[in-house]
Amino acid sequence: MDLIFEKSVEGKRGFLNPKSDVDVRAEMPSSYKRQKECHLPEVSELDVVRHFTNLSKRNFSVDSNFYPLGSCTMKYNPKFTEDLARLCGFTHLHPLLPQLKQGEKLVQGALGVLYEMDRWLCEITGMDSFTMQPLAGAHGELTGVMMMAAYHKSKGNKKKYIVVPDSSHGTNPATAAIAGYEIVCVPSDKNGVMDLSRLQEKITDEMAGFMLTCPNTHGIFNSNIDKITEMVHAVDGIMYYDGANLNAIMGRFRPGDVGFDVMHVNLHKTFATPHGGGGPGAGPVGVKEKLIPYLPISRVVRKEDGTYSLNYDYPDSIGYIASFYGNFGVILRAYAYLLLLGKEGLKEASNHAVLNANYIKERLKKHFALPYDHICMHEVVLSAATQAKSGVHAIDIAKFLIDKGIHPPTVYFPLTVQEAIMIEPTETESKQTLDHFIQAMVEADELSVTEPSAFKDLPKTMPISRPDETKAARDIDTNYFAEKPC
């Protein structure tokens, strides 16, 4: 498809600014003035609308396709939350208003949402306090690790590293680096669960903390979780819970009850806010009592008279981690979702998420290798190792599914499973959709036996076939205007 710039025709306008109603025409002095032309396109409003509408048709999305992308919780995004997030009482609100004298009075509704969201998340997770500021899951993780470092610093603990299981989402080494730590890995045992004796080897006085997701990335719940927290707390380590898999356990298990000290929650996963093609998300971070002093500022507090205010006076805080109060528009949607579902709805969501994953596992284990044959939580990891022997790899099966109108599951993750295919159906999909998916997977398996070479040119029904990624990395073209002076 042509680029918007290639549709540009001199003199076309997509939007008319209002005519100036002031009789002043100010002149920017030439020394400060832009010299080179800015090559934004000259197109009509219809050109723009048609261009992007046609682009949108080149995407798979939850609203148009089953999207069982493991570890991403692609559940249905309710429509009413979109309306609510667009109320002008929220969208027109300037973030600096509460920083004015008596300004908090101007944003009571917004502060109320932040405060209530904190309360809800605490009750769901068993934590004592949340910050809404982190702008995505990875940002939440960074915030959590920064608090971990601040805790050890204030206690005079000499800590050097953070331990992660090899099956986990792990952590970004850069996150650890910002806190001044290194990462150490613990392997899983043959059941895909972390090996306790190997963990014990890694636990020394220099361990700052342990990062765990539970259920783990193989979709398995670790029933030794209380032993692990004991071992980690024995060296004053911090237990970090990666909330990526929260959708499995609502109403059943709370990280805060079994000794986790800090965790992040992905609102764009568990609480149904749209993923937006890769952002914006939100990654609130919750902590137990002992880490509260280190939470970022500002914090929303409820005063005795029932009104809300922002407090900045926390000397031990890690400080500002984002410009304002978090991705407020995302938090709003998640809050509306929570209010609608309530206690029973949240529990039901986890129930069906787990039911759906187990159903897929049972139906497909005859056709695909199942590395860990055990009841799974909200996602299941299969392997295309058998199919790979005839040259059909996980990525080929992914491309086959695209032609069936299904967004492929996550492939090649977790790393501990060869040819991994990680499927997370979510609770909003029905048995009928799952059956359609299962049917497609079975067909892929059959085709891998009868005609393995058929996979090489898939997908065939999309606007493009497989792209040349090597060319993209060698002949770098990331800017349409690169050759022209701009």
């Binding site: 570890s71 899951g137 990875a138 993780e141 986990s168 989402h169 792990g170 952590t171 970004n172 080494p173 990462i183 990526a244 790899h393 990525i395 992914a398 996550t410 492939v411 090649y412 993750f413 790393l415 060869q418 497989r466 990624e469 090597t470 990395a473 060698r474």
Partner: protein, 160 residues
């Protein structure tokens, strides 16, 4: 093979990071890796050809095959002083990036400038046209810290 990594790596960039070694064990498969008899090798899969006091350095067939299509190489500056097993260049493929370590200490006297325009030379001819740099060796004894071709073959089997 070139399709494997990117999707997975992309996921990495969100939340998680795993060292290159893990990658290698996944993608190596069962291909036979070439090892040339007259060269010395490191555990990081670099080779070195010592001729008088000049060492020519490159990466092995195993390394290039693990990385896949190489897209970029960052060469060391001339006259750079390098230490044995110290980082002196870096290399990128579609799916991974990796540091290259110098098998011996010395001063960089020449780099293979052809690689800048055509990094794929390393894939096509890792032991010949795809050499990376030449250094003037400062301590010949360091060669004893390196593996012979046979030792490297057994090493590959052990990591394979």
């Amino acid at each position: 093979m070139e399709h494997y990594g990117s999707q997975y790596l992309d996921l990495l960039s969100l939340d998680e990071h795993v060292p290159l070694v893990v990658w290698r064990s996944i993608i190596k498969g069962e291909e036979i890796m070439e090892v040339e008899d007259h060269l010395l090798y490191t555990k990081d899969h670099e080779w070195v050809n010592v001729e008088e006091n000049v060492a020519t350095i490159g990466i092995t067939d195993y390394a290039q095959s693990s990385l896949g299509d190489i897209t970029y190489i960052e060469l060391p500056p001339a006259d750079d002083e390098v230490e044995q097993f110290g980082n002196f260049a870096s290399i990128e493929s579609v799916k991974a990036a990796s540091d290259i370590f110098s098998p011996m200490s010395g001063r960089v006297i020449e780099v293979n400038e052809n690689l800048e325009a055509d990094p794929a030379l390393i894939n096509k001819s890792c032991y010949h046209k795809g050499w990376i740099a030449k250094i003037e060796i400062c301590d010949m004894d360091e060669a004893s810290n390196l593996m012979t071709a046979d030792e490297y073959r057994s090493f590959l089997e052990s990591v394979g």
